[in-house]
């Protein structure tokens, strides 16, 4: 599959604290890359570096575009319900972000919505945008009920079939299982393991990730 972006040697420091260390990752057309790691593993920082919102302390991100950077009109990103501006009416946000494609008649301010409704609003507005060729979602299942989760998985599969490249992060492997074509496991800012669609628990190191993998096992 054709690469949309490739990042090499990414590191990020906030003062003395190193949140990413020498990360290499690529995102390809018609593929979903799953980024798995516990809270604080560096998933959000990595996503924001890839889309150009945060500058890496070292390393580089190569977008395979003429401009060499994330193309504004082709890249979708949603960082979670907490990144929606609280005072904007839901209807205005949906129309603004989706470029008039998402339908929402709720005139209440975003802050008046439940967490799950905010998450759905943000996701539906972003995913309704036309002509996306890369989508970056940070913990998109957070706060969604089972219906919302099913809707999200279904729309992400459809986006992949349409040719989109997707990078989706979660700290829960079961969110991503069955959806992703490739997985990268982040632990303390480093990619400690990679796996294909068929995850082998033996390929993973680190107690947190092994615990996460346990969630995939069917209940007795």
């Amino acid at each position: 599959m054709k690469e949309v972006l490739h990042a090499f040697g990414l590191s990020k420091r906030y003062g003395a604290r190193e949140v990413l260390r020498d990360v290499e990752i690529s995102v390809r057309e018609r593929e979903v890359e799953g980024l798995i790691g516990a809270n604080g593993a560096g998933k959000t920082t990595l996503l924001r570096i890839l889309i150009g919102l945060v500058r890496p302390s070292a390393g580089r991100v190569e977008w395979h575009q003429e401009s060499g950077r994330a193309p504004a009109d082709r890249v979708g990103h949603f960082g979670g319900a907490h990144t929606l501006p609280p005072r904007v009416p839901a209807r205005t946000w949906a129309r603004l972000v989706s470029r008039g494609r998402a339908f929402c008649e709720d005139r209440r301010a975003v802050r008046a919505l439940s967490r799950g409704s905010r998450q759905l609003l943000g996701l539906s507005a972003e995913l309704a945008r036309p002509n996306l060729n890369a989508i970056f979602l940070d913990e998109p299942w957070e706060g969604l009920d089972p219906d919302g989760s099913r809707w999200l998985s279904k729309i992400l599969r459809r986006k992949r079939e349409e040719g989109c490249a997707l990078l989706v992060s979660s700290h829960r492997l079961h969110d991503l299982a069955g959806l992703c074509d490739r997985y990268a496991f982040l632990l303390d800012g480093r990619v400690v393991a990679r796996a294909g669609a068929e995850i082998s628990p033996n390929a993973v190191r680190g107690e947190d990730l092994l615990a996460a993998l346990d969630l995939m096992r069917p209940s007795p």
Partner: protein, 233 residues
């Protein structure tokens, strides 16, 4: 075209506070009423708009950006374009009130040569819009306006502002002999700029200061690392 208009985005997501818009509206209407009753009596309204504008443009950028509120408009966009749109949205209500006041003055005087629309008036508007905006890009809202007002009040209290202001009123040529002092007085209390006569070089210095502030603020936004607040904490 599927790119979000940065101006439209900031208008929807972080418009200037409604109370300030109401104040600007009242001031503009007041200017019209004053000019209708007594031609040329609305100069103090310009000074009031200038003071309110110090706060209206002190909106702050980084505080909202590091919460992720500006993500959709920041991805892949030229940051200079974003900075200018943010500035334009912050400054628009005050600028509109200023121009409305100028229109009232011009209509009453049957001439466009009125304080609000003269070079000194426009330089003052640019100054009170750009400098607080730039100062506040990376700090808390209203900090730029508060600091400027505190500086003016301190200089007044220390007796440093009234004597040169008096000289500028009585003897406009004084500014040509003491350009640095005159420039400093204008900067310290920009509300008086429209009502005084200034040499072209000083007006140019006011405009250059505003342009420098605008460039500095844009540079701060261009180089900003938009980490979410909890990431960098």
């Amino acid at each position: 075209m599927s790119r979000i208009s940065a101006f439209r985005y900031f208008t929807a997501v972080s418009p200037p506070p409604a109370t300030l818009i109401v104040v600007f509206g009242v001031l503009a209407i007041g200017a019209g009423a004053l000019e209708a009753v007594d031609r040329g009596s609305s100069d103090w309204v310009l000074a009031s708009i200038a003071v309110v504008q110090l706060f209206a443009t002190s909106t702050g950028f980084t505080r909202h950006a590091t919460r992720g509120y500006y993500d959709p408009v920041l991805i892949g966009s030229g940051r200079s374009r974003i900075a200018l749109a943010h500035f334009a949205v912050s400054a628009a209500p005050g600028a509109l009130a200023w121009l409305a006041c100028g229109a009232c003055q011009g209509f009453a005087a049957r001439s466009p040569a009125v304080p609000a629309l003269a070079p000194a008036g426009l330089a003052a508007l640019l100054l009170v819009s750009a400098v607080p905006w730039a100062v506040t890009v990376r700090s808390a809202p209203f900090l730029g306006g508060t600091l400027w007002l505190l500086l003016s009040a301190s200089l007044f209290a220390a007796g440093k502002l009234l004597p040169p202001l008096g000289r500028l009123h009585v003897q406009p040529a004084w500014a040509e002999d003491h350009p640095l002092t005159a420039f400093a007085v204008g900067l310290a209390f920009p509300a008086v700029i429209p009502s005084l006569d200034w040499p072209p070089a000083i007006l140019l210095a006011f405009a250059a200061t505003a342009a420098l502030a605008l460039s500095g603020g844009s540079l701060l936004i261009a180089r900003a690392d938009v980490s979410l607040a909890e990431e960098g904490a």
